[in-house]
């Protein structure tokens, strides 16, 4: 049996996801893109649920500038939630209403993973250092070139 990929219109798809999350249902979907590497990639299935509050380290599905994003909360400042992809440098700030739900766990290579714990925070810290060094290295190479 072959597996074909069905690409649904983003808006219609996320409208349905949002509807189900609002009904307190758990929804799973496949990740698209690389902004959450090394933790989430296109082989990852994330399980989402709606909660009454969200905290630093949570991976959430939210709407920003008409785009649906799945990024991690970097910090919470008053009513504002500042998100950033683990593999990106830009951050996005949204209010609570723009957040649809949080990843409760994810499946990668048939293994179940927690989105946030001590090991994740440690790995993320070193990955961020690596990203900074890589950017710095590229700048130097560009200057020399």
């Amino acid at each position: 049996m072959t597996k074909n990929k069905l690409v649904l219109p983003n808006h219609d798809f996320f409208e349905e996801v949002m509807k189900l999350l609002n009904q307190k249902r758990q929804v799973s979907l496949m990740v698209k893109g690389t902004s959450m590497k090394p933790f989430l990639d296109e082989e990852t299935e994330v399980f989402l649920r709606q909660f009454d509050s969200y905290h630093k380290g949570d991976i959430c599905l939210f709407k920003f500038n008409n785009k649906y994003l799945l990024h991690r909360i970097k910090r919470v400042v008053g009513k504002d939630y500042v998100f950033r992809g683990d593999n990106t440098v830009k951050s996005e700030t949204v209010e609570f209403e723009a957040i649809y739900g949080r990843v409760t766990y994810y499946m990668k290579k048939a293994k179940k993973h927690k989105p946030w714990n001590f090991n994740v925070s440690l790995k993320l810290f070193f990955y961020r250092v690596y990203l900074k060094l890589r950017t710095f290295g590229k700048k130097i190479l560009r200057k020399k070139g």
Binding site: L8, D12, F13, E16, Q26, L29
Partner: protein, 88 residues
Amino acid sequence: MKIKKDYVIKQIGKELVIVPIKDEAIRFNGIITVNKTGAFLFEQLQKDDLTEEQLVERVLDNYDAEEKIVRKDIFDFIKICQEHLLID
């Protein structure tokens, strides 16, 4: 035969899709697309435990179609459902 309780049908935009429910989650991984007739067959088998013959009757009652074509389409539909373990 009857469709397992672990599946629901949803309309997303223009697409009619059969979505599996596993581990209490509605999973948009492993969805199957169907056309309007496929959705009708799915709904009939979701509501009632039917034989292939009864399914043919229901389609002929609701659609203006040739029996020979209906039988073939239902046979193909059931085969796909069996392959995907959709029916009990």
